[in-house]
Amino acid sequence: MRLFLMALGMLLTTMILLGVAGFLVFAERRVLAFLQNRLGPNRLGPLGVGQALADALKLMSKESFVPDFADPVLYRAAPVLVAFSALVSFAVVPLDQHFSWAGNWNIGLLFILAMSSLNAYGVFLGGWASGNKFSLLGAVRAVAQLVSYELPMGLALLGVVLLSGSLSLNGIVVAQNLPFIVLQPLGFVIFMIAGVAETHRLPFDLPEAESELVAGFNTEYGGMRFGYFFLGEYLGMTLIAVLTALLYLGGWHGPWLPGWIWLLLKTGAVIFVFFWLRATLPRPRYDQLMGLGWKVLLPLALFNIMATALAAALWRLA
């Protein structure tokens, strides 16, 4: 009985998350349109919300095609890996102090970082197994980008961990009497930039830069396999947004409203910033991307940790 309920709960969580990701695809098109003087998809359903459903149905009803020159096993496994690693990260994300699957897990943050590395594997295997030069180029770029931005991201997160003394997301939020954005402004900026690069969202979407690489690592994909990559990308974006809200913006802390609404509002605001960045910024050159990661963000993140540790030690002394 207990097992059955748990399975049901997992199914429900997964469905809700997939629904959110599908809705975000629509919301992004709408918000981008408004930022660019257009209307966006507004035909199907109230405000065009039905477009999300129509897109999902279209992707699901298409043929799952495997090209002759692709590696059949890895080609099939890669999209699942991407969607899986993004979905499973949400297990450690608490909606409220007492409402989560594993919010108290004492290595929660580490788990998320590990899963985002697994995500990089999915992207790389997808591009490599496609047997296409554009896919391979996209995959190589994706791996280089994910590796170089994981570093400053992890280092920026260490600042938060130092301040809260906990690796579980619950513990980190409980420790925030003051949102960590106030104590860690530099860390916040680094985390946001690295987060955009981690999810290969638009200013840093070089792995799938359509003007140079057709579609990068997912060139050969179609139907629901492409859909998994897409869902993985949007789930990853949601994950980064939730993490930003939890780690830097005070999570569920806030006056008047219930905690989970506060968390959703903050997450929504961060997601809007993602859309907004996409509408504004052009794509940098690849060497500029690498230069930013290794020559600017990494030293800054190191400096951030040192300064945080020094300040924390002095605070303890005083």
Partner: protein
């Protein structure tokens, strides 16, 4: 210092895109009416003068100037010796809406008015006969009549004082 400059530029860019919210340029056309410019070149139409006579005098200039040869007409003569088109036929599956017929027309009879969205199932339905082309209105030039003229000043006769002559109009108010 350069770093701060970048941040300022970034903020300026973000502000620029944020300001665009609510300024929608898209016109949802079939639901919202289009605001066509007054000199819009839509479908060629035959118009009448303010007195209700048809303006066309069957001079064949539009037919001659038409680059796609889609205008065809036959001339007839009224009892008062004024010519008029017996038949007038435009093949709209060939018309390119260049407006040369309108420019060639000496009596401002043929005019490209604002009808632009018309589609048919068969090519034959695009061949418009005179009864479909001739409208009751005056088109873009509401007060113009080719036969209402003011003549020239001659000796002690001023403009518009001879037989069948009318007082001159202000040409600037006659623009479309």
């Amino acid at each position: 210092m350069k770093v701060w400059r970048n941040f300022v530029d970034l903020g300026a860019g973000l502000w620029t895109t944020l300001r665009q919210i609510g300024r929608i340029s898209t016109v949802s056309y079939p639901e919202e009416p289009l605001n066509l410019p007054p000199r819009w070149r839509g479908r060629p139409t035959l118009t009448r003068d303010p007195d209700g006579d048809e303006r066309c005098v069957a001079c064949q200039l539009c037919s001659a100037v038409c680059p796609t040869r889609c205008i065809e007409l036959q001339a007839g003569e009224r009892a008062d010796t004024r010519r008029y088109p017996l038949t007038f036929r435009i093949n709209f599956s060939r018309c390119i809406y260049c407006g040369l017929c309108e420019e060639a027309c000496p009596t401002l009879a043929i005019q490209l008015l604002d009808e632009f969205a018309f589609s048919k199932e068969h090519h034959a339905d695009f061949i418009y006969e005179k009864d479909a082309l001739l409208i009751d209105g005056t088109g873009k030039h509401p007060h113009y009549n080719f036969y209402r003229h003011s003549g020239v000043a001659l000796g002690d006769k001023d403009k518009g004082q001879g037989i069948n002559e009318k007082a001159p109009v202000n040409v600037r108010s006659n623009l479309p």
